[in-house]
């Protein structure tokens, strides 16, 4: 079913993304290997979302090469994605998770049990039979996490998952992400919240105008940024 | 998931069951192509249960105009034809589509028109009446559908010396529909129409229409029945179809035909002579 294939290390070589005349990403060279969470920061329009989508394989680069564990086939084997606004299937929460399990190839007999475990892991055990579309924003995002974790990923990509959530929900999501990181899953997450970066990140990727400007450990980046764009960004200036 | 699947299965089963129940009697059933006048007059509704009670054969009647009924039989889609246009029936026989033609019953045609009688035809014979209608351009409704009634109407125009193909104008309305529809139209337009007595008696939407000419010998309307030739159309149910034709011309069937009445009036006169042609 799912063999010993791995999606890591994720390697981007000279990856560019064009949309017509606009350059969204400009010659990105990047290697993601197992380890502490990597957070991607940058101003709006810097290409964070596009970079994540390319890493997932949802889009193809205009030029350059992406490989997952030295394979270039974009079919996601052991990686998962959490979107900023999750789309819930029109069924119960538990059914959403069993759906994800089924798509990931889990045998039918195991699905109910594993779904219950996943719901417990994200704190939605008491919401199992509730229609997913009737859950609150924070609950839906946690359910999206459960769906992602159902794929038993090595690599979990998240696109500003707490951007629309209140602090309590944000904390719940961050706890789940940290727990996932501690269990060995490589986290790559876009964030707009520097506090979140400080709480979660092992290293930071800073994007500006489609270029990978800086890559450093969290405290190095936050306290001693080396590029002018990063310094401007951390000061709170608009980086145009 | 499981409940969804079983719902779909149930829906499909219900759908099939609800239509299959209606066709359970396929084995002892025949299709008879007949005319709208026999249907609209209610004759079949009266006759067929009697036949079924005696033989257990279900008769399914397709009511079309004579021409269309004979065409249906030519395609092999009917087992028996029961129509009223002798020339067309004899042509059908000559083409080899029918086995033998039997006279079954007759009634007569009537000229129906508005009580106000704008063409002044009341009291005339049919030929004179038609001439008057053509002369005065009074509204006239024609079946226009190659039915027995339509054929009779065209023959009567010829008899009256009116070349209807040349003489027809906006006053002559060909509607291409059955007898009931023609009467409805005549009623709505206060026009004249040729109808068989059976349909007229059972017709309910008369408006200000009434009989204006009747009793003329030329208005005689003969009905005949034929079994469709099984040698030409192997799907024809030979025994069952023949049973129906035989019953129609038997003393029982003939008595049943004579027994059909509306408001005390007999609609059809049985006249089978069993010899056939």
């Amino acid at each position: 079913m799912r063999g010993p294939l791995s999606d890591l290390p994720l390697v981007l070589e000279g990856v560019s993304l064009q949309a017509g005349a606009t350059t969204i990403l400009d010659r990105i060279c990047l290697t993601i290997a197992p380890g502490a969470p990597t957070l991607i920061v940058g101003p709006n329009g810097s290409g964070k979302t596009s970079l994540l989508r390319l890493c997932m394989g949802l889009a193809a680069p205009t030029s350059g090469r992406i490989s997952w564990g030295s394979r270039t086939d974009p079919t996601p084997t052991r990686r998962a994605f959490v979107f900023q606004r999750p789309v819930m299937l029109r069924r119960a929460a538990a059914a959403n998770v069993t759906y994800a399990l089924a798509q990931a190839g889990a045998p039918r007999s195991q699905r109910t049990v594993r779904a219950a475990a996943l719901l417990g892991r994200v704190g939605l055990a008491n919401r199992a039979q509730r229609p997913a579309r009737l859950l609150s924003g924070g609950e839906q995002q946690r359910l999206a996490l459960a769906r992602a974790l159902a794929r038993d990923p090595e690599l979990l990509l998240l696109d500003e998952p707490t951007a629309n959530l209140d602090p309590a929900a944000t904390r719940a999501v961050e706890e789940i992400v940290l727990a996932a990181a501690q269990s060995g899953i490589k986290i790559v997450m876009a964030s707009h919240d520097l506090g979140q970066v400080r709480r979660l990140a092992g290293e930071v990727l800073f994007l500006a105008r489609g270029r990978l400007c800086e890559r450093a450990g969290t405290s190095d980046f936050l306290d001693h940024p080396s590029t002018p764009e990063a310094r401007a960004f951390l000061r709170g200036d608009l980086v145009i | 998931m499981a409940s969804r699947r079983s719902f779909v299965a149930l829906a499909i089963l219900l759908g099939i069951a609800s239509v299959s129940a209606s066709s359970f009697a396929e084995d002892r059933a025949i299709v008879v192509a007949s005319t709208t006048s026999t249907q609209d007059s209610g004759l079949f509704a009266y006759l067929l249960p009697i036949f079924k009670a005696k033989t257990g054969i279900e008769v399914k009647v397709i009511a079309q105009g004579t021409g269309q009924a004979l065409d249906t039989a030519r395609r092999g889609d009917a087992d028996v034809v029961f129509v009223h246009a002798k020339p067309q029936e004899e042509k059908f026989l000559a083409e080899g589509h029918g086995v033998k033609r039997f006279d079954v019953m007759y009634n007569d045609f009537l000229l129906i028109g508005p009580k106000s009688d704008p063409a002044g035809v009341k009291g005339k014979d049919i030929a004179a009446a038609l001439r008057a209608i053509a002369a005065k351009d009074a509204p006239f409704i024609s079946r226009g559908d190659r039915s027995g009634t339509h054929a009779a109407e065209l023959a009567l125009w010829k008899e009256a010396g009116v070349d209807i193909a040349a003489a027809k104008g906006p006053w002559y309305r060909e509607i291409g529909q059955g007898m009931g529809a023609a009467l409805n139209t005549a009623s709505a337009m206060s026009g004249y129409v040729l109808s068989d007595r059976g349909t007229w008696i059972s017709f309910r939407n008369r408006g200000d229409l009434d009989i204006v000419v009747e009793g003329d010998m030329r208005l005689f309307n003969q009905y005949g029945a034929m079994l469709v030739n099984p040698e030409k159309h192997p799907s024809v149910k030979k025994e069952l179809g023949q049973a129906f034709v035989d019953w129609l011309i038997s003393p029982e069937g003939q008595a049943a035909i004579a027994g059909y009445q509306i408001d005390g009036q007999q609609l059809f006169v049985p006249d089978a002579d069993k010899k056939g042609s």
């Binding site: - | 239509v19 209606s22 066709s23 409805n184």
Partner: protein, 278 residues
């Protein structure tokens, strides 16, 4: 002779069912029992409806011919909807989700076919199913089966086209998530069809409405045979041509009320389900 027998049967049944002076609520239950019993009677079909009774009187006495006609109408249309959905929804979903050369033409064609003239469909099928036609050996001309086929052909484009539009719209919303979950092509179709079920219900109702209302196709391929292929619409056409206009109008009203009731029930079920599942 038939009419006294009919009236006698009705009186007898009424006594058995104890309908008489009962209140409206229990009449529905008794009506269902009556319907079940009349199923057998209707199959033997005593004959045409007595035409001196009004449509209301026929309903109240539970005239077997009327019930047989209603049952056939609903059965044929319902079967056609089920068949058209089984074929049309996958086609619509496929069209929505796959790109291939000529797709646009196919979509336009499908939309145009929603306006197929029923009588033309009936005629085409008649020529196919006639004994002297290519499919004559099936022997289904002038049977309810042919009517189901005709109506399925008529409403298939409606259901397929509306499904295509609905699924296409939903795909815009679901595309990222389903791609991220690596859902295969067939899985996408079934997932989107199920998630779009409330919108698709409207498509089904549209199909049902068209099927129940049409008269041209079923008249030609069914033959309007008394007791076998006579539906509500062909019965209205027949009674009109016999000049029984009040009866025809009454039957028409019955048909409209039945279709209205079905729509109301379907809508109510949909709204209630939607409230439960969000």
């Amino acid at each position: 002779m038939i009419r006294p027998i009919l009236t006698a049967c009705c009186v007898l049944d009424r006594k058995k069912a104890k309908v008489g002076s009962q209140s409206r609520k229990t009449i529905t239950e008794e009506g269902l029992h009556l319907l079940a019993r009349r199923l057998a009677v209707a199959c033997y079909s005593i004959g045409t409806m007595p035409d001196h009774l009004s449509a209301l009187q026929l309903i109240l006495t539970g005239d077997p011919a009327l019930i047989a006609i209603v049952r056939l109408s609903l059965g044929v249309s319902f079967a056609a909807v089920v068949l058209a959905a089984a074929i049309g929804m996958p086609i619509g979903a496929l069209l929505a989700l796959t790109k291939f050369p000529g797709r646009t033409i196919l979509v336009v064609l499908l939309n145009a076919m929603m306006g197929l003239p029923p009588v033309v469909v009936g005629l085409a099928l008649y020529l196919l199913l006639s004994r002297s036609g290519p499919l004559g050996d099936l022997g289904i001309l002038f049977t309810p089966t042919a009517m189901v086929v005709a109506q399925t052909v008529l409403i298939l484009p409606i259901i397929a086209a509306l499904t295509r539009q609905t699924v296409e719209d939903l795909w815009v919303e679901y595309r990222d998530e389903l791609s991220a979950m690596n859902v295969a092509a067939v899985g996408r179709m079934t997932t989107l069809l199920w998630d779009a079920r409330f919108s698709l219900l409207t498509a089904l109702l549209a199909g049902f409405g068209r099927a129940a209302a049409e008269v041209g196709a079923v008249m030609i391929v069914g033959g309007n045979i008394d007791g076998f292929t006579r539906t509500m619409t062909t019965a209205v056409a027949l009674e009109t041509s016999k000049g029984n206009l009040p009866l025809a109008m009454g039957l028409g009203a019955v048909l409209i009320l039945i279709v209205l009731a079905i729509n109301a029930i379907a809508w109510g079920t949909g709204v209630w389900s939607q409230r439960l599942t969000g």
